[in-house]
Symmetry: C2
Subunit: 187 residues, 2 copies
Amino acid sequence: MKCSVFIATSVDGFIAKEDGSVDWLHTAGNPEVNMGNDADMGMNEYMSSIDCMIMGRKSMDMISSMNLTPEQWPYGDTKIIVLSNTVKEPPANMKGKVEMYSGDLQTLISRLENKGFKHAYIDGGTTIQQFINLKLINEITITRTPILLGEGKPLFGKTFKDIKLEQAKAVAFPNDFIQVKYTVNYL
Amino acid sequence: MKCSVFIATSVDGFIAKEDGSVDWLHTAGNPEVNMGNDADMGMNEYMSSIDCMIMGRKSMDMISSMNLTPEQWPYGDTKIIVLSNTVKEPPANMKGKVEMYSGDLQTLISRLENKGFKHAYIDGGTTIQQFINLKLINEITITRTPILLGEGKPLFGKTFKDIKLEQAKAVAFPNDFIQVKYTVNYL
């Protein structure tokens, strides 16, 4: 099964401030500009390419804290699995929308494959780092928000070795966000 | 005086491994590919736009350790100032090529301006971070080498506040390096 990442970071590589806040994502760049057909910066196309989502517990808590209405829910009926070794039940406002999973990630991927899933959206810093170190991430799209934060929670962490990225693509949007895309070669 | 940065990093934002090595810069990406007119990835055009260079002591030591022949010297007769509070004399193979400076950076910039210099190339991780926090860097070009290192010496460090980047440009080269360019807005 293909596993990919689609995530926003600051130019210095952070996905959130130390306190977890991501408000800078929404205020950065030039919000006045006409984005034409790129208003969603590829999100809808990406979402239509995946059929399931695996995220960490902190990502779930972040989404839960937003108290989204059904209209605001951005994931449609995509199957969402939340990884946690300690939390066994999702928060009340996430019930029926996510399944909790604890255990081996290879096993999880095999089970999803056996059920016919073909492309998983992997989300959350810790989760992405785990998947990279299991050589499970095939493709990474990073949308660099035009800001330097100085510190925060980094997208990437220690890796078991140098990891080669290939098939580089880049686009600078009119709002000064830059989106880059790579495939990952673990050889 | 305009101050700018032109530097290569890994995709996870490191300019060197923990031990200072940068050999991965030269082996990463796809070296077989035809780069056409982009073989230097903009370096010559950038060098012709600057008239002086300010680098940290570690950058000088790195260059010194390469024992470059006059033919290999990449900086032409560009005036080079090396910052150090402790080292007062350059290494033997750098004598006559660099001037040491210790002291206030605003004063240094004013002196260079008074001598007619117009655009300084600021190099070295620590030096770049100092200049950013003095609001002296106007433009940043980052050439992202297609590799994840996992750890090393980061290009960016703590900042006195969130710093807005503007006028984003991006190009993906055929060798899978991606070059991005921003102007810096400290307001």
